[in-house]
């Protein structure tokens, strides 16, 4: 009998994350307190017009360490966007709490930079104007020149130096989202939240922006949480991938560690030894298992602590 394609390591006996030897030592080892802690989060819409209450998700619990990139994968309708809105503080959960850097999230704040799927740029402002709006909100004490320089730094970072004075209507979708990313980063948030930021873009633009995001988050060590339904995007960008079951009553089924080296690139992704095992694991989940996740009982106060999975290499084919 062949071994199963993956192994569930019991959370208690989990081995420390293998660290890539080509990189400097991780400044934020997994034992440090997490930057963001999601505790037993639930969202239920109350009963209306004779309809029973509708539970979007319940008992969500997970943590994100500082400097890590976490992707959330799941089908439409499992409440991914609601979860992100709750993390952003734009929506209130009906259960549980989100704790960011030791403080409970009660509303939107400049601690979190949000990148919207449809960019949400203000069309009456130039690229620079959109960024300085954010910078002025974050650093109201700064002079105009200082804010402008700061904004231009981030416009350069996303490669839009030439277009700083253009209006959003003069930009392509990909360039608009670069502005969105620059705006999210310019407030130097503790946490960057992205709701399918590349979902509205064509495949080519999407690819180049994935590279760009990968470069920026590795450069800036920005803690990020991103919703996507693109498996390859998650594999390229994420250190950990959170898998959500289908709604209603969605739960977090498992959290998968990304075994690929930090030096991974989009072009070289499919040459990585662990690429196919990981991809197959994620694909199997989305295609088959996401609909039949067993719902364990919710631990009061802790919610459902999902198992953390390390995908195992494929067995070498026997000669």
């Amino acid at each position: 009998m062949p071994p199963p394609p993956y192994r569930r390591s019991p959370p208690m006996l989990q081995a420390p994350l293998a660290h890539d030897p080509r990189l400097p030592p991780d400044p934020h080892p997994a034992s440090a307190p997490p930057l963001i802690e999601v505790i037993n989060l639930g969202l239920t819409y109350p009963a209306r017009r004779g309809q029973p209450p509708f539970c979007v998700f319940e008992g969500l619990s997970f943590t994100i360490q500082k400097g890590k990139f976490v992707c959330l994968l799941g089908h439409s309708g499992c409440g991914k966007t609601s979860l992100l809105n709750i993390l952003a503080g734009l929506q209130k959960p009906t259960d549980g709490a989100v704790v960011l850097a030791g403080k409970e999230v009660t509303g939107p704040s400049l601690d979190r930079g949000v990148i919207f799927q449809h960019y949400a740029l203000m069309p009456w402002r130039s690229v620079l104007g959109n960024i300085t709006f954010a910078v002025r909100s974050r650093y109201p004490q700064w002079s105009k020149t200082r804010g402008r320089e700061h904004a231009l730094k981030y416009i350069e970072l996303v490669g839009l130096g030439e277009a700083a004075n253009k209006r959003p209507s003069e930009l392509s979708g990909g360039m608009k989202q670069r502005v969105g990313i620059a705006r999210g980063l310019a407030i130097e948030p503790l946490m960057l939240l992205m709701d399918e930021p590349l979902g509205a873009l064509d495949a080519l633009t999407r690819g180049s922006l994935q590279d760009e995001l990968r470069r920026i988050v590795t450069e800036t060590q920005q803690t990020s949480f991103m919703i996507t339904h693109d498996i390859d995007e998650a594999i390229l960008l994420a250190d950990r991938i959170v898998l959500m079951s289908n709604g209603p009553n969605a739960v977090i089924a498992e959290i998968v560690n990304n075994p690929l080296p930090a030096t991974r690139t989009r072009e070289g992704l499919h040459h990585e030894a662990m690429y196919y095992p990981l991809r197959n694991h994620l694909m199997d989940f989305l295609v088959a298992r996401s609909a039949h996740v067993e719902r364990t009982t919710i631990h009061p106060g802790k919610g459902r602590v999902p198992p953390i999975i390390d995908v195992q290499p494929d067995p070498t084919p026997s000669p």
């Binding site: 952003a88 503080g89 734009l90 509303g107 939107p108 704040s109 400049l110 979190r112 930079g113 949000v114 919207f116 449809h118 949400a120 203000m122 069309p123 009456w124 402002r125 709006f133 954010a134 909100s137 974050r138 209006r167 959003p168 209507s169 407030i187």
Partner: protein
């Protein structure tokens, strides 16, 4: 090229209209059977002249008014420029007061569904009332003809402004408001840097509609209250049986109305944005 073509067509239509006008008002043959002294009393038709002035009469009158538009020879004889100035002051006064009241109120209505629903019946009932119907009430309460006409202008300008401002504010895209929330932008800064620029094109369209209606209404209002203004000028010249001056006034009202409309259209272009 397109512009030149349309200009040529415009000039052709103008020539045709002037031709029809000139032909329609050509003087006939004088009726010699009428005693000349009686004919002088009976007016132009008895002398065989057309009762409606032709383009050349009006042209001469326009030239006369343009040479000295601002003369003032007593209450019943003021230059057409002076009269237009009085009307413009009333319109801009009433319109300005309407902007001061309606834009902030529209902001409140647009940002609160509760206020929107509770004020809806009042707006729906008061909006279709002809502003002139307020005139007797205004005259009785204010007891001043000039201020009453400003009030009438105010009340007719308020509705389009109120409705457009409320609509513009209510249709600010929620994602822009979310951006403001995520950046912890306060109420005042959000109003001025997000909501106002987002709603500005709709608000200015409301202003354009308002000032157009105000300019329509001022003529009728001044006919009623008398004294000064282009409406009173028209009424006065009708009493003088000077149709030439009435026609001159029609052109003058049209030109000023167009300038007001184009001015606000220009302002609207300044604040409009492309998504």
């Amino acid at each position: 090229m397109e512009y030149v073509k349309s200009l040529i067509v415009t000039l052709l239509i103008l020539a045709a209209l002037l031709g029809v006008w000139a032909a329609g008002t050509r003087d006939g043959v004088a009726d010699t059977s009428v005693d000349p002294e009686l004919a002088a009393l009976l007016g132009p038709s008895a002398k065989g002249e057309s009762p409606v002035p032709g383009p050349e009469d009006v042209g001469a009158a326009v030239w006369g008014h343009l040479k000295d538009p601002f003369y003032d020879k007593g209450p019943n004889d003021k230059g057409i420029g002076t009269q237009l100035f009085f009307s413009l002051v009333r319109v801009l006064g009433g319109f300005g007061l309407a902007v001061i009241v309606a834009v902030p109120l529209g902001f409140v209505i647009g940002s609160s569904p509760l206020m929107q629903r509770s004020l809806e019946p009042f707006i729906q009932i008061l909006k279709p009332v002809s502003p002139l119907a307020w005139m007797p009430l205004a005259l009785y309460v204010i007891k001043d003809a000039a201020q009453s006409s400003i009030f009438v202008i105010w009340i007719c300008s308020v509705w389009p402004l109120l409705i457009n401002t409320a609509f513009g504010v209510a249709s600010v895209r929620p994602e822009w408001l979310n951006v403001a929330r995520c950046h912890e932008v306060g109420w005042l800064r959000r109003s001025f840097t997000v909501v106002l620029p987002a709603a500005a094109p709709t608000i200015l369209t409301g202003m354009k509609i308002s000032i157009g209606i105000a300019w329509l209404v001022i003529v009728a209002a001044e006919m009623l209250v008398g004294g000064t203004g282009i409406g009173y000028f028209v009424w006065n010249e009708w009493n003088n049986l000077s149709l030439t001056n009435v026609i001159v006034a029609i052109f003058a009202i049209g030109v000023v109305g167009m300038v007001l409309d184009q001015g606000l259209a220009g302002l609207t272009r300044l604040v409009s944005y492309e998504e």
